[in-house]
Every structure is written in structure tokens, then in C-alpha cells.
């Protein structure tokens, strides 16, 4: 033989999926919500989105450079984090604070703990909660057409009602990406069809929360209230795009169901018994911390060892 042959351990073929492709699909699935956010809130939203993404990507780049590691920005996970964080910010949020948020999300929540796959909580939500605690005023100042208004959830908590159609179409106040339920659902369906996420966590989350709302929401079986609670706040954005983040959710189906139930209960508790009108962010990061425990109790039985084969 004239040339050397490769020798390696089997298997010798690989599927075409890559981490980068998966991240790209997530970015694409968020575009409808992002585009609507820009349409709904104007140029300031676009600036925030771009600045936050840039801040995340640069933070990861610089961190890898300083710590002399292989560059990882090409896997696009920093882009996803930046986009998700931006969609969780109010449109009038100062861009220079968004940069701070991006740096926190990447450096503190992700890179310091080992980078991709090692973050212990969702980086975008970790940064959002950091910003919420540090810059509460800016983070709770929701504007619409230039004026400060109350979000649908705040209105509901105060006992007022909201128009359901507005919630679906997204023509309300809120963070950049959470308002248009139709855009979010479109993106979510895309992700499910591409096999990037499964319906397990969103379904378990939303159903649990719906039951909790009917039982403890204080409005009995008022369907309009239920729909408003489901579509308002960051629930749809959180259930489909943030709770399903791979690194911070359980790796097994049973684990995911339990995770969804925790999320539903916690969101209900925070929203109805807590001081602020919404609780999705805190519910998700809290449940992220519970994941190692959840995985311990939900390990599947091996084939032939008594479990369902």
C-alpha cells in the first residue's frame, strides 16, 4: 500500500448534527420574536439586541484568549446567550448596562465554571436576575410608544383585565422578546420539528402552571385570566427557550417531567404570592440548581434490569 490508513475505535461514521448547527437553529427560532420586538419597540430594541450579542461574544473571546484556551465562539452558544438576554430586557434599558449583563452572563455564569455545558444555571437568566437586583429601576421600567406603562401581568395583579388578543399579537408592554406569543410559538414549533428540543419540559411546565393558576390564582376557573397568565410575562419565552437549555435541564425524560413540574409550581408561587408580578426567571434559575438532585432520583433503569425496556 502506498499510503497510511486511519485507524481508530468504532464507530467510524457520524451523524451530520453539530453543536454549531443546533445553536444556529435556536438563533433562527428566536428571530420571529426578535423581529417583532424591533417592530414593536423600535430601533432601541435592535440596538440592545446587537450590543448584548456583541458583549457576550467578545467576553467569551477575550476570556478564552486570556486563559489561553481554544476559541469557542464559533459554536455560536454565546450568540444564543446574547440574543436570549436581550429578549429578556425592557426596550428602554441602557445599552451600557446591557454590556455589563452580557459580561456577567458569559464570564461569571458560564466561563468561570468551565464553559459550554458546565454552567450551573441559564446564563441569560442569571444575568437578567443580576441586572434585576442591581439596576431594579431600569429593569422594571417598561415603556411602550415612549411612555412608561404597566405590563399585562402587573395590570392583572392590580386586578385589572387585559385584552387577550393583544397578548397573542404582542402589542403590549414587556421585555423585547416576551410579548408576541405567536412569534414565540412559531419558533418553538420550528425547534421541535428540527429535533432540537422536545415538548416534554414546556408541556410539563405549562400544564403544571395552568393547574396551579386554576387552583391558587385567586380567580378560580376564569379562562381569560388563565390565558392572560399563560401568555403574559416571560412564560412562553421561558418555557420553550430558557427552561429547555440543555446544560441546565435534566438529561432524562422522567427528569425533565419533574423539572417542568418544579418550574410550574415555583412560577405560580412567585407570581401569586410574591411581591413582583412575574416569577419565571427566578423559577427557572432555582430549578436549574435542583437539576443534579432531580437527575439522581430519575435515573432510568438499564435494559433488562427491571425497568421499561
Amino acid at each position: 500500500m502506498s499510503e497510511l490508513l486511519h485507524v481508530s475505535s468504532s464507530p467510524h461514521v457520524r451523524s451530520k448534527d453539530t453543536t454549531q448547527k443546533i445553536m444556529l437553529y435556536v438563533v433562527i427560532s428566536l428571530l420571529p420574536a426578535a423581529c417583532f420586538g424591533v417592530y414593536n419597540f423600535g430601533m432601541q430594541a435592535l440596538v440592545l439586541i446587537l450590543v448584548t450579542i456583541a458583549s457576550c461574544v467578545l467576553s467569551e473571546y477575550v476570556f478564552n484568549m486570556i486563559t489561553k484556551r481554544k476559541q469557542t465562539i464559533q459554536d455560536l452558544s454565546a450568540v444564543v446567550t446574547g440574543l436570549l438576554l436581550a429578549l429578556n430586557l425592557p426596550p428602554a434599558f441602557p445599552w451600557y448596562l446591557a454590556i455589563v449583563g452580557g459580561i456577567f452572563a458569559i464570564i461569571v455564569v458560564k466561563m468561570v465554571f468551565g464553559g459550554l455545558g458546565q454552567n450551573f444555571m441559564n446564563p441569560a437568566l442569571g444575568a437578567r436576575c443580576f441586572l434585576l437586583i442591581s439596576f431594579t429601576g431600569y429593569m422594571t421600567n417598561f415603556t411602550y410608544d415612549g411612555e412608561s406603562v404597566a405590563t399585562p401581568l402587573a395590570l392583572l395583579k392590580a386586578g385589572e383585565s387585559v385584552k387577550t388578543m393583544d397578548l397573542f399579537m404582542g402589542t403590549t408592554a414587556g421585555t423585547i422578546g416576551e410579548t408576541c406569543v405567536i412569534a414565540l410559538l412559531a419558533g418553538a414549533i420550528f425547534l421541535i420539528l428540527m429535533g432540537v428540543i422536545q415538548i416534554t419540559i414546556p408541556a410539563s411546565y405549562i400544564i403544571t402552571f395552568a393547574i396551579f393558576t386554576l387552583l391558587f390564582g385567586g380567580h378560580g376557573f376564569d379562562m381569560t385570566f388563565l390565558v392572560a397568565e399563560l401568555c403574559g410575562g416571560g412564560l412562553m419565552l421561558g418555557a420553550f427557550f430558557m427552561a429547555t437549555d440543555y446544560a441546565t435541564s435534566p438529561i432524562t425524560t422522567n427528569g425533565r417531567i419533574i423539572f417542568g413540574i418544579c418550574l410550574g409550581i415555583l412560577t405560580g408561587v412567585f407570581r401569586f404570592y410574591g411581591a413582583s408580578a412575574e416569577g419565571v426567571s427566578y423559577a427557572i434559575i432555582f430549578s436549574n440548581l435542583l437539576v443534579p438532585l432531580i437527575e439522581k432520583v430519575s435515573r432510568p433503569k438499564a435494559f433488562g434490569k427491571g425497568g421499561k425496556a
Binding site: M1, S2, E3, L4, L5, H6, V7, S8, S9, S10, P11, H12, V13, R14, S15, D17, T18, T19, K21, I22, T72, D75, S77, G114, G115, L116, G117, Q118, Y246, A247, S249, I251, T252, R299, P300, K301, A302, F303, G304, K305, G307, A309
Partner: protein, 439 residues
């Protein structure tokens, strides 16, 4: 009854169209023939010939080295040139008998029988043992041992594993089309050895022609049934095959016989029938030479001992210089650095790939996506097991049932981060098993 599939599994590119429609042609060797003394599970065979001896085709050249062992016969007439270590398809150096072919193919006399069912059970098993039949799907377990379980009255299914789930391989497919009567004969023979047994011929549904043909031919057989199973890798894995056809699940500490089943490969069953009926020892098999680097991918009926290098020539040689040559299939086969190794009882194919897919990607961090969990047929968590191995934590690996892994490679195949999961888990499994043997 079984659900005709199992949970998990992957769908790699099938590649069977390269060679499935090429009829099997006989190939006669040009050079010396190499017979490794270990072509089976169990003790290596011990030579009964010496350098310089003249042998005939079908003559015993090495006898079984114990109960779990098998004899080896010359496939040609000629002279014993040497007995020395030679490289096999697993890249191991194995003591082998080298025979120089005299080109005459003079054979010993055989003792055929008219009716295989006129023989007693003991005579049938003896014929199978003498013929040196071992599992030809790749594992090489001596068939006469498999057909002698501790509690024969508990066996209720004889399963013909005709899945051929590895991509590119078409030798079993061609055998089913060309020798269906031998397959059915072998099944009936094996079923007759166990008073409570029924036969199942399990074929993946990507072979509808075989399913049709065998279904028609077994329509009047009360004890033999043809079942179509869903095409998915690794349907041909023994545990998955038993589960799909019977609904019974066994783990690594159990034998198929514990679930009342005996599973055998297509070629094994056909050769069981021929050995008993014709009284001939096992001296040849069908192999597939395939891959996108081969000019004329096809199937050959080859005498044991023939070099794969000759078969590559006979298949038109290389179209492109391959990056990787694999003995077996792409999911579980062995990559070789020298393709001049002999055809033995367990080699089913040579796969020559222009591009090495595994080398194309650098492994990156595990993103916890859970795809490996979805596809694992043993219902394990491959990414965790591989991580435990990376940290050297053998106890935790064993606690997490790492030994249940069937080494199918589905996890590495599906991982988007291109991590070498199967390799790490295999290393862990071998370590645990070796530690257990030491105790």
C-alpha cells in the same frame, strides 16, 4: 409477543445499494491461505498437522482446544508451509497455519445424509461440532455449545437473526435470496432439537423481497414464522432482537437461554443445515467488499484463508485511495492498517471509505443535549459514563450500569459535540470485566 422494535437506536446511511443487487460469485484464491487458530470464542484450536504435510480440502488441520472451542479445516488441497503468527482482521497477531495451494482442490470424502430429521439430537449436535460451525455474524461463539443449553426444555424460541443491521453489509441479504431453502431447513432442524421450541425468522423491513420470499416458503410450516422488524441500528444486537421478537429483556449477566431463546445468524443457520446434510465442514463464506473507495463493490463466496487484499483486486481495486479500511461494518467494525489479512469464519466484509468521518471532527464540550440517552439501546446515560471514565472513576461507572453497554456505537454516532463516547465506555467496560475476572 414483541413490539417488533426496541427503544433507542439510530439510522445511519444504509449504503447497501452499493452491493445488494450484485449476485454472489465464487472466488478462487491466488496466493497462500492463512488459517488463524483462533477464529471463535473459546480456546484456540490446536494444530494436528506439521510443516511439510500435504492436506486435502476439507481435511482437519486443527482440533478443538476444549469444550468451548471449534476445529479448523483446510479449504484447499496443498502443503502446510508454516505455522506462525499472522495478523488478523482485529489487528491481533494470531498463531496460524499457512497452506500453499496446489490449485487442484482435491477434497476428502464426506458422509451426507438423505434426511437430516432421521438423525438423533446427539448425532446432529455432533455433526455441527465436527464441522466447526461458529457464530458467523461476527461473535464466533461455537454453535454446538449454544445448542446445548443447561435446560433445553425451557427453550421456546429459536430466532434467526436476519436483521443485518450494519450499514453496507449485504452478505446475509444475498444468502436469504439465494439459499432460502437451506435457511428454512436449518431452522426446522434447530427447532427439532428442542421439544417446546418454535422458530422465528426476523428480518428488517428494508429487505421486503426476503420477507416475501421466506414468508411464502414457510406458509405451511406450523413451527416457523417470519417476522418483519423495524429497520433501525442496532436491531441485530442479540438482546434487542430477543426483545423485539418476544418482548423479553435480558441484561449482561444473563444468557439468551435464560429467556428461553437461542439466537443465531443467517449464515450460521444455513451452514448448520449444510453441515448436517452434506457432512461437510465449514470452509467458506460470503463476504461483501464495499465502500465508496471500491470500483466494483460486490459479494464473494470465499474460501477461508483467502486474503482480503486479493478480494479488493477482484472487486476492481480502489477507485480512490481510502482513508480508512474497516473489517466489518461502519458502526462496530475494526479499522485495519494492513488489509492483507485472511477471511475467517467471522469476517463478513471489508469496507473501504474514501473519507474518515470520525476524523473530520474535533470533539468539543458535552452540551448535555440528551441525544445519547435517547439512542442508547441499553437505556444508559452515555455522556455521564464517558465522563466518569475520563476521570478514572471505575466504581461509579460500574454502579451506573456501564457494563450493560452493548458497544453498538450509537452514542458516538449521534453526539453533536463529536465526543468519543463509545470508545470511553468500551474502555470502562473492558476494565470492569477484566477486574471481575481477576477476582
Amino acid at each position: 409477543m414483541g413490539i417488533l422494535t426496541f427503544k433507542g437506536g439510530v439510522h445511519p446511511y444504509e449504503g447497501k445499494e452499493l452491493s445488494k443487487d450484485k449476485p454472489v460469485t465464487s472466488y478462487l484464491p491466488k496466493n497462500d491461505l492463512v488459517f488463524p487458530l483462533s477464529q471463535h470464542i473459546g480456546a484456540p484450536a490446536t494444530p494436528v498437522v506439521a510443516k511439510g504435510d500435504h492436506v486435502l480440502a476439507g481435511q482437519l488441520i486443527a482440533e478443538a482446544g476444549g469444550f468451548v472451542s471449534a476445529p479448523i479445516y483446510s479449504s484447499v488441497s496443498g502443503t502446510v508451509k508454516a505455522i506462525e503468527p499472522r495478523r488478523t482482521g482485529t489487528s491481533a497477531m494470531v498463531q496460524s497455519i499457512i497452506i500453499e495451494n496446489d490449485g487442484e482442490y482435491k477434497s476428502v470424502e464426506f458422509q451426507p445424509v438423505e434426511d437430516v430429521f432421521s438423525l438423533s439430537k446427539e448425532e446432529v449436535i455432533e455433526r455441527i461440532k465436527t464441522a466447526g460451525i461458529v457464530g458467523m455474524g461476527g461473535a464466533g461463539f461455537p454453535t454446538h455449545v449454544k445448542l446445548s443449553p443447561k435446560e433445553p426444555e425451557k427453550i421456546d424460541y429459536i430466532i434467526a437473526n436476519c436483521a443485518e443491521c450494519e450499514p453496507y453489509l449485504t452478505s446475509d441479504y444475498r444468502l436469504m435470496l439465494d439459499e432460502p431453502e437451506n435457511l428454512i431447513g436449518g431452522m426446522k432442524l434447530m427447532v427439532s432439537l428442542f421439544e417446546h421450541a418454535k422458530g422465528i425468522i426476523a428480518i428488517e423491513d428494508n429487505k421486503p423481497d426476503c420477507i416475501d420470499l421466506l414468508s411464502k416458503m414457510t406458509a405451511d410450516e406450523p413451527k416457523i414464522e417470519v417476522k418483519a422488524v423495524k429497520t433501525k441500528y442496532p436491531q441485530g444486537s442479540e438482546r434487542q432482537m430477543i426483545f423485539a421478537t418476544t418482548g423479553r429483556a435480558i441484561n449482561s449477566a444473563m444468557l439468551p437461554a435464560d429467556a428461553g431463546c437461542i439466537v443465531d445468524n443467517t449464515a450460521t443457520i444455513i451452514n448448520v443445515y449444510k453441515a448436517v446434510k452434506e457432512g461437510k465442514p465449514l470452509t467458506h463464506r460470503v463476504v461483501t467488499i464495499t465502500g465508496d473507495a471500491i470500483n466494483d463493490p460486490r459479494n464473494f463466496d470465499v474460501l477461508f484463508g483467502t486474503s482480503f487484499a486479493e478480494l479488493v483486486e477482484a472487486a476492481g481495486g480502489f477507485k480512490n485511495q481510502p482513508e480508512k479500511i474497516i473489517s466489518g461494518g461502519p458502526m462496530m467494525g475494526f479499522a485495519v492498517f494492513d488489509y492483507n489479512f485472511p477471511v475467517v469464519k467471522t469476517t463478513s466484509s471489508l469496507l473501504c471509505m474514501t473519507k474518515d468521518e470520525a476524523a473530520q471532527y474535533e470533539p468539543t464540550a458535552c452540551i448535555n443535549c440528551g441525544r445519547c440517552v435517547e439512542v442508547c439501546p441499553s437505556r444508559l446515560i452515555p455522556s455521564r459514563l464517558a465522563k466518569l471514565m475520563d476521570h478514572g472513576d471505575i466504581e461509579a461507572f460500574e454502579k451506573m450500569d456501564g457494563v450493560e453497554c452493548v458497544e453498538c456505537g450509537s452514542c458516538s454516532y449521534i453526539c453533536p459535540a463529536k465526543r468519543h463516547l463509545a470508545q470511553s465506555i468500551r474502555a470502562g467496560r473492558q476494565t470492569v470485566l477484566a477486574n471481575r475476572r481477576k477476582k
